[in-house]
């Protein structure tokens, strides 16, 4: 019983991290239909910038803030200097740009920082709490809380605010968005800034648990992407549920079935879900009439 609970705790923590990465994907996708393959690098930047600032003597909260701002700035630059210049390029071409950006950022990080693994202390210390035989890390609670909070904010943003709608409109029909007066370039920059900031936040929160290094982005991006697809791309609730579910499946498989094939089980579950729900658990069906 405690074992099962322990798996659930582990799955929830890791799943919340996946959810944060998936939530990061959501925004850029909602503005442009582009899945940003550099999303993992924002996660990495969050961890790395925080670590190096912290090591240079900046207090941890300030270092984290710095990292979030830095990631957001890089996100905006990526949009301004690359995505925006590519203009009306096909979505696949934009995706390749983000792949290029991910290689570029990784290369830059190993140059500016280093190739070592790093870690900084958890926000509320690293002393685990023992609740009825189940070990819970305070940092794990942070991850879950922030994931839920980001989810709520994004949910409100996309359903209640005009700017959120304008972002959706930008992806749905760029020309029409311009014709109603939406500054689509600004919407894109905004979405890159938000995505990057959320990505960085995920990286900052996870570093005390899973460490960080210049090339840590890819695995996070991969899992975050899978989580987003499981829940339904573009829908905040899908990202949250998809992330948590993926984390739980992995932890339960590793704990109860086989640790060798835990990733395999996760993907099989995704395949099965997509078989019945081709848009993921919460995905919108596209509305195109002929």
């Amino acid at each position: 019983m405690t074992e099962l609970l322990q798996y659930l705790v582990s799955g929830t923590t890791v799943g919340a991290a996946y959810a944060l990465v998936a939530l990061g994907f959501t925004i850029i996708y909602n503005a442009s239909d582009v899945v940003n393959f550099a999303q993992g690098e924002f996660v990495m930047l969050g961890g790395m910038v925080t670590f190096f600032a912290w090591q240079a003597g900046v207090p941890l909260p300030l270092a984290a803030l710095l990292a979030i701002v830095a990631a957001a700035v890089i996100g905006v630059l990526l949009n301004k200097l690359a995505i925006e210049r590519a203009g009306a390029a096909p979505v696949v071409s934009l995706i390749i740009i983000t792949i290029g950006a991910s290689i570029f950022l990784r290369g830059g990080a190993q140059l500016v920082f280093d190739k070592q693994l790093h870690r900084f202390p958890g926000f509320s210390g690293d002393e685990p709490m023992n609740v009825g035989g189940v070990t819970i890390l305070p940092q794990g609670l942070w991850v879950v809380a922030v994931a839920v909070m980001v989810f709520v904010l994004l949910y409100v943003f996309f359903t209640r605010t005009l700017t959120g709608k304008a972002i959706l409109a930008t992806a749905n029909n760029r020309v029409a968005a311009k014709l109603v007066g939406i500054n689509t370039d600004y919407m894109m920059s905004l979405s890159f800034a938000l995505s990057a900031a959320i990505g960085a936040l995920a990286g900052i929160l996870m570093t005390p648990i899973s460490l960080t290094s210049y090339d840590l982005g890819v695995p996070f991006a991969l899992k975050g992407f899978a989580a987003a697809m499981l829940g339904g791309m573009g829908v905040p609730v899908g990202a949250l549920v998809g992330g948590l579910l993926l984390g739980l499946i992995e932890a339960l498989t590793a704990g109860l079935v086989s640790s060798t094939y835990k990733d395999a089980v996760a993907f099989i579950v995704i395949l099965v879900v997509l078989f019945w729900m081709p848009q993921g658990l919460f995905g919108r069906k596209s509305m195109e009439r002929v």
Partner: protein, 356 residues
Amino acid sequence: DIKIGSTVSETGPASSLGDPEAKTLRMLVDEINAAGGVLGEKIELVSYDDAGDPNKARTFATRLIEDDEVVAIVGGSTTATTMSIMQVVADAEIPFISLAGALEIVDPVQPWTFKTPHTDRMACGKIFENMKAGGLTKIGLISGSDGFGASMRKHCVDIAGDYGIEILADEIYGPTDADMTPQLTNLRSKEGVQAILNAGFGQGPAIVTRNYGQLGIKTPLYQSHGVASKAFIELAGPASNGVKIPGTAILIADQLSQDDPQYAVVTAYRKIYEEKAGSPASTFGGYAHDALRLLVDAINRAGAAEPQAIRDAIEQTKGFVGVTGAFNMSATDHLGLDLSAFRMLEIKDGNWVLLQ
């Protein structure tokens, strides 16, 4: 000039190995050249980053041989890249000293391939010896699913019986997994487990160690030589206290007695590495150090920078003391190390200490 080639994993999943290796090679070549070079000639190091990709490693090995026309190659940070390079050097007949762990690299012996790290099988043996001595015979195994972890796991399972060790539980984690709590929970709750052995390198073992501490597991934890660096202690935090590994002298350089045969070479390497790289020296850089020194030594003895002559000279290496240990190569032993240079270390208060 004498051209020596290298292809290591400066980036990619094995960069925690390849990075110190590449740095070591560069600084040593500079040092050797500053001291007058070899056979009156300067060494030119041509080095490539294969990012841990075996296909790239093969391409770079080909490039080193065909295009750069090097006389010998040092490199192959992982077993998989090493295996790729071995094919090429065998065809081209160029001596190659690998920095990777697996036994398969030197068993069966390939005429042109040598290696400097202790094999994963030796690591298992060293650890099991220590366990047995401590009366720990029932263990739980946890390993990374990468090449190093999988290969060491295989060998440990293979020879456990020889030491009277019984593996009660066998868990796997992915090299980039964020949390190993479920696997460790299983080891914790497995009835009768007296010790836990983790085979892996990179961030995995650090997270395993942290999770081990968080779960309050009390059974002794053994790690492999894949974590033999100061960085591991830092990353794993207080939970690393008491972790035991089979390591090399470099980790306890400051504890070596002056009359230890490795004292001079270890201190010298450590000094230059820490000066130039600005970070603590690790065993991995040590593998590269030994490989290059072995090579230079062989060229000196061969008296000519000719592949065949170099190869023969490497094979005749006797009593060569390196950072990893004393090498005695032969036609049937292209590693030349025995278990004696492998020292059981334990982490105490954030430092490696020698276990007696």
